[in-house]
């Protein structure tokens, strides 16, 4: 044996590195950095959502209406005909003397809003900048809200991320049953839009015969009861306050019938609005509305201070739990829609793992055996490099905590076939040189030299395609380009540098009379 050369030392280090860092992934130990399995292998739910941000703009207009109503009431300004039409807030002042006070309010509290005045009639619309901002905000808020909800739901490592301009990527691994999946979907999509709305007591008696259009004329809206769709309420469409002023929501139980309900608490401003309103409207009803369904409409008996309230309905404990989560994490400013959905059951994932493992093992064995039969010991050396290559792929992916997908597994299988190509090219060169009567040392050194450019060029072209695929591919496909790129890069180290080092190391052992055993050739001198 020769002294250890730098090539073989680097190779052995790489091999060792590969084994050590792939151990956590192979043994699935709880410590150390590991490869994560993609949703297609471990099962889970993948959704690409889009945000209907236009709705956020509409509700922004509505909240401006709410604020106007509160401010004007607060300043004792008399107004009439407050309503929302064509994405703008309209109202009319009744007293000309209030004009000055109103102008001040509008100037102080309503920036970025276009104000049109015709006599005492006012029309408020959002300007372009505010609309853009509202849309952007709705998407950001949707990402945060959905993330919060899934985190509170208690699932292992959900991913929620903005993708592109207006899309949200949601990935939830480990969803076991379809019922679970449905629950998660409902939790994600729940608007959780809580509103306190005053019942229009003057006209509510006629609600059953009233049309939506007529209600709209009065600035009202008709909403149905949650448990009895036939029961309808006529409510002032501009709410007293909404869920944005909520600070907490928890599941509680009704003392009388032990039914689950949700206790909520408002912030200081909300509590004040709530208190003021209830004080002024004793004897009238106030509806608690969640996602446009009336949960209850109790009569106000006295001023309600403290800012807490409760939502009761015929909840199951699970429903109450999910609604509380949704309320706590805040309302979705705009509804979300599914653009793409991929759900993989755990059994399908397990099947994919099994099938791809079988393919990997059979593919690996057939290549290893073929190399040995065709090239003798030279083939064995290539096989050693191949094994090191596999470990290196696992180790590098573990260190980066990369995701292994089904196409990623296919990439590893493919790497097995492609990594030995380098050794085939080298071995053929060496054989050629041996046949030409060169010494073993010269054949090996020249063989590596001559083979290098072809291997290099071939690998670079494959890498170019893989990198482009990584840039343009999505999800699982990225996994394919990842494993194949790592595999090709690792093969430069193992199949070229590593095997070269091994030859140099064991050179004295190579018997020139047994070229059949060492290089699988006969008849060379």
């Amino acid at each position: 044996m020769n002294k250890l050369n730098y090539r073989v030392v680097i190779f052995l280090f790489a091999f060792l590195f590969g084994i050590i860092f792939s151990i956590p992934s192979l043994t699935q130990s709880s410590e150390g950095k590991k490869i994560t399995l993609g949703l297609d292998l471990q099962g889970g739910l993948h959704m690409l959502l889009s945000v209907k941000s236009q709705v956020a703009v509409e509700s922004k207009v509505k909240s401006i209406g709410t604020t106007i109503k509160y401010k004007l009431d607060d300043e004792d300004i008399i107004f009439d005909d407050l309503k929302i039409e064509n994405k703008s807030v309209k109202f009319e002042l009744l007293d000309k003397d209030d004009l000055k006070k109103l102008t001040k309010i509008l100037k102080d509290d309503f920036k970025d809003i276009n104000i049109k005045q015709e006599g005492l009639k006012f029309t408020l619309t959002l300007n372009k900048k505010l609309i853009e901002e509202t849309k952007k905000n709705a998407i950001k808020q949707a990402v945060d809200t959905i993330r919060n909800r899934l985190n509170m739901f208690g699932l292992a490592e959900p991913t929620v991320a903005k993708q592109g301009i207006d899309k949200i990527l949601v990935e939830v691994p480990g969803v076991k049953t379809q019922a679970d999946e449905q629950r998660i979907r409902e939790l994600i999509a729940k608007a959780a839009h809580l509103q306190m709305m005053a019942v229009d007591e003057d006209r509510d008696a006629r609600v059953d015969t009233m049309s939506e259009a007529e209600a709209k004329q009065y600035g009202d809206i008709i909403l149905a009861d949650v448990s009895n769709p036939k029961k309808r309420y006529l409510l002032h469409s501009i709410p007293i306050l909404d869920g944005s002023m909520l600070v907490d929501a928890k599941v509680g139980y009704d003392r009388q019938n032990n039914q689950p309900l949700i206790n909520f608490k408002l912030n200081g401003q909300g509590a004040k609005i709530f208190g003021d309103f209830s004080g002024k409207n004793v004897g009238k009803r106030m509806a608690i509305v969640l996602d446009n369904k009336v949960y209850s409409a109790p009569v106000i008996r006295e001023r309600i201070g403290g800012g807490s309230g409760q939502i009761s309905g015929n909840f199951t404990p699970q429903e109450a739990h999910d609604i509380a989560i949704a309320l706590r994490s805040g309302a979705l400013l705009a509804p979300v829609q599914v653009e793409e959905k991929r759900s993989v059951g755990p059994s399908l994932g397990a099947d994919s793992i099994r099938a791809s493992m079988i393919a990997l093992i059979i593919g690996f064995l057939s290549v290893v055996v073929f190399m040995f039969i065709y090239y003798g010991m030279a083939g064995v050396i290539a096989d050693i490099a191949l094994i090191a290559n596999l470990f290196l792929i696992l180790a590098i992916m573990s260190l980066f905590e990369a995701t292994l997908t089904l196409p990623g597994m296919a990439g590893i299988v493919l790497t097995v076939g492609m990594a030995v190509d380098a050794n085939v090219i080298i071995n053929e060169r060496i054989r050629e040189l041996l046949h030409a009567g060169n010494s073993i040392t010269k054949s090996i050194e020249q063989g590596y030299n001559n083979a290098f450019t072809a291997i290099w060029d071939a690998n670079v072209t494959t890498l170019i395609a893989a990198v482009v695929l990584f840039a343009y591919g999505t999800g699982p496909i990225k996994g394919f380009s990842l494993t194949i790129s790592i595999g090709i890069l690792a093969s430069m180290l193992t199949a070229i540098l590593g095997t070269h080092g091994i030859y140099q190391w064991i050179l004295p052992k190579i018997d020139k009379n047994r070229l059949d055993f060492w290089f699988g050739i006969k008849g060379a001198k």
Partner: protein, 324 residues
């Protein structure tokens, strides 16, 4: 073991180049015809739609499922097929649903509840907007890969080599796509990955051959290009076939054992590997010949380059000695 002997007589590839050109050209034309008239069968990734995988305990009552679905207005055109085994079925439909709460799998559960004991194993739904986006991206990826590879090859080789290898590449990809159209395989994202892999991989063998031709131009005495090509191709025959063979092994195991989800992917690669090997031997090199690559010209250029380099060295030496 040696299949191709080192002293293997040189095979007259170039003498038969025309025959192979006719074969290749007809394959390409047939493929283009298939693509044009039959067209690619875009799967849901690119066309939008939903695929539901259902596994039954025991054999799937496929006729019953078809009858039930075809009565429903949303699933009138649903395509129900076995998926890998008699107990697995795949339901493909153009229907998609944007509503997060209303899911096709929920609907399926109500529709299929009387068909036996089953489990919905997976649902893939791609909305039309995303499908369009993925198709544009896929096309971009293909164009970019070809450009990238073209740029690299022209940087590494003389332009005729580059052109010849890219023509061979186009040949390989066209025939692979033709095979996809012929067998009406669902073209989904993994197929795109396979096509891009073919782009990168089918060049490998071409590079081996061209590398050898480039070497042969310098070392083989004759100035007759077709002789150089014949010798180079013959000498690299074992390399090109063996490297393809190892890859073919693993792709074949993927096809046979890798499961239903990787079938289309591995099929595309199988075709690509075979066509790619054929083209690097029989297509790329003749193109080089027809592009009128001239050895004497090349050698003259090389000599010129060498001369310039020598001159530069001489100048430098003089400069260092202070004679200039």
């Amino acid at each position: 073991m040696e299949v191709f002997k080192y002293n293997q007589p040189i095979i007259g590839f170039m003498a038969n180049a025309k025959k192979f050109a006719i074969l290749s050209l007809s394959l390409v034309i047939i493929s283009l015809g298939l693509l044009f008239f039959k067209g690619l069968n875009y799967g849901i990734d690119f066309a939008g739609g939903t695929v539901i995988q259902v596994k039954y305990k025991g054999n799937a009552p496929i006729q019953k499922i078809r009858d039930i679905l075809h009565q429903h207005k949303s699933y009138k055109n649903a395509n129900v097929t076995y998926f890998g085994s008699n107990s697995d079925i795949a339901i493909k439909t153009k229907t998609t649903s944007k509503d997060v709460n209303v899911d096709i799998s929920d609907q399926m559960n109500t529709l299929l509840k009387d068909t036996g004991e089953y489990e919905i194993r997976g649902v893939d739904m791609v909305g039309p907007a995303v499908g369009n986006e993925l198709r544009t991206q896929g096309l971009m990826a293909m164009v970019l890969s070809i450009l990238g590879i073209l740029a690299y090859i022209s940087f590494r080789f003389e332009w005729r080599f580059a052109l010849a290898s890219v023509l061979a590449l186009v040949h390989d990809v066209t025939i692979s796509l033709g095979a996809l159209a012929l067998f009406q395989i669902d073209v989904n994202l993994p197929i795109l990955a396979a096509i891009l892999t073919i782009l990168g991989y089918s060049l490998n063998d071409t590079v081996i051959v061209f590398d050898r031709i480039r070497e042969g131009i310098r070392t083989i005495k004759t100035t007759n290009l077709s002789d150089v090509i014949d010798e180079s191709v013959t000498r690299t025959l074992s390399r090109t076939t063996l490297t393809s063979l190892t890859t073919f092994f693993v792709v074949l195991t993927l096809y046979l054992f890798g499961g239903e989800l990787l079938k289309g992917f591995s099929f595309t690669l199988l075709v690509g590997v075979v066509v790619g090997t054929y083209s690097s031997i029989f297509v790329a090199s003749p193109i080089l010949m027809w592009l009128k690559f001239s050895i004497s010209e090349f050698r003259a250029k090389e000599a010129e380059k060498l001369k310039r380099e020598k001159e530069r060295e001489r100048m430098r030496a003089m400069y260092e000695q202070g004679t200039i």
